[in-house]
Symmetry: C2
Subunit: 284 residues, 2 copies
């Protein structure tokens, strides 16, 4: 999916937000925005993938800020909130068909995405949000086909911190039926995405056959992928791709992919053919 004319504003808003989270140094904040603008003005006309451009921008911004992880606190809190409500949410989820309902839980938890313009994450009201969304139907529901493909070799691309706690529930169900479960987290801290450390917090390392990483990027960027991760992706029977950045990167790919996400912005929602706020489990 190519960058949309709505993306630059959202990206700059996030750069400003992360700079403010990282420092009070007005000069650093200023240089971060200046640099982001410069890269965006260069890259936007080339119509690349937003998540790829965003990766380049955030990496440079982190350098300017001299901060390896401006989202440190936000990510920690997302994990804490998720773990706090886990017992209650488990009681709700396991009343139904566990494959379907844990998949849905992981889609609902895709709300833990900090910095999408117009999308508010209300940590403290997460349980209420969960209960409300759990009553809603998926707007696109290809879960039965996805279930069937999950009998083979599965690659599971995670997205945000917090969310990964609920991904773990879904992974447990996949693990019961699959041949091999390879989970891919981000190789380095970037925005609010989960890294290996978060996978451990969520217990993913005890569920999956292996926890790999995507190298250095938001989403799946071919040139960034470690050899083993590339191999697993190329030989998967299905890739479960969580969230918007993974969708942006893989929407035009030839792999068999189950995109599980909550559409949180207009360009992604439009590309999928749903409305902002809709939940989807789309097989492509």
């Amino acid at each position: 999916m190519k960058i949309s004319p709505k993306c630059p504003s959202c990206l700059l808003n996030r750069v400003y937000m992360e700079a403010r989270m990282s420092t009070d140094d007005a000069e650093k904040i200023d240089r971060a925005v200046e640099l982001a603008l410069k890269i965006l003005a260069e890259e936007y006309p080339k119509k690349g993938i937003n998540a790829v451009i965003a990766t380049r921008i955030h990496r440079k911004v982190y350098e300017v800020l001299e901060d390896e992880d401006p989202y440190r606190e936000v990510k920690k809190r997302a994990n804490e909130v998720s773990l706090k409500y886990l017992p209650e949410i488990k009681r709700i989820v396991y009343r139904d068909d566990a494959f379907r309902s844990t998949a849905k839980a992981s889609i609902i938890a895709n709300t833990f995405d900090y910095g999408v313009m117009g999308h508010e994450v209300n940590d403290s009201a997460f349980l209420d949000y969960f209960i409300r969304k759990f009553r809603e139907s998926l707007k696109i529901d290809n879960l039965e086909k996805i279930r069937s493909l999950c009998k083979g070799r599965v690659v599971y691309l995670t997205d945000n911190c917090g969310e990964i706690v609920y991904d773990a529930l879904f992974m447990k169900e996949i693990k019961k039926i699959c041949e091999r479960l390879s989970v891919v987290v981000r190789g380095r801290p970037i925005i609010s995405d989960a890294t290996y450390e978060d996978a451990v917090i969520a217990g993913v390392d005890k569920i999956a056959d292996e926890v790999l990483d995507n190298g250095d990027g938001i989403g799946i960027i071919d040139e960034e992928l470690p050899e083993k991760t590339k191999d697993r992706i190329e030989n998967a029977d299905i890739i479960i791709a969580k969230g918007m950045a993974n969708y942006e990167c893989l929407s035009d790919s030839a792999y068999t992919i189950g995109f599980l996400l909550t559409a949180k912005c207009e360009p992604v929602a439009k590309s999928i053919g749903v409305e902002v706020g809709d939940m989807v489990a789309l097989l492509r």
Copy 2:
């Protein structure tokens, strides 16, 4: 007031919004954003005034869109809504000291500002909004000093459509005590700001001694000012400057200015020393 690192995102958001209001032509929308990004990347490091940079951007964007006034409908609606509730609001306003309460009405109506990121204009709920805000106190209240200076030559710089209907009420009170009332509207349609046509709709031409224009700009840009307008500004005993763009342009000027506005964004609020949402009548 210099451009803040929060401004580029907001500006690009507005450019996208106005492009979408103007056309469905994806290529035009795309070129509008591309051009805005290019100008911003050039201008941001120079740390000029946001309203001046925004003027340059919107003018170029209007050219790309081949649209002299993308805000046509929005402006029309703001005037209609304001006129619709005028009788009801007059009844509220004239219970008190008319100079103070019409000034406040004009500050409340400064909410008719479309495209400030994070600021929602709810046309249909304007009366409720007005009643609620009218109960609030001004966060900075220099109205008595402003009243006293209004006994001389007054230049009144208007801001948005819709808002100008309530400016007219305040102008009537100024007119009762002043030596001369010169009202300055925008010389050409730009964003949601009032032009001569809107001044006539609001009846300003029947109240003021003269209705002048600011040339071509959002706010007061020296090089853009017609000779007569410049003369009136230089020889005013007080300038009443409505809204954020006029504040951005004049906050560091040596004139005697009464800034009347609702702070709708963080950079302006911070510059004044108030919170977003606060109403001020600040004499400087």
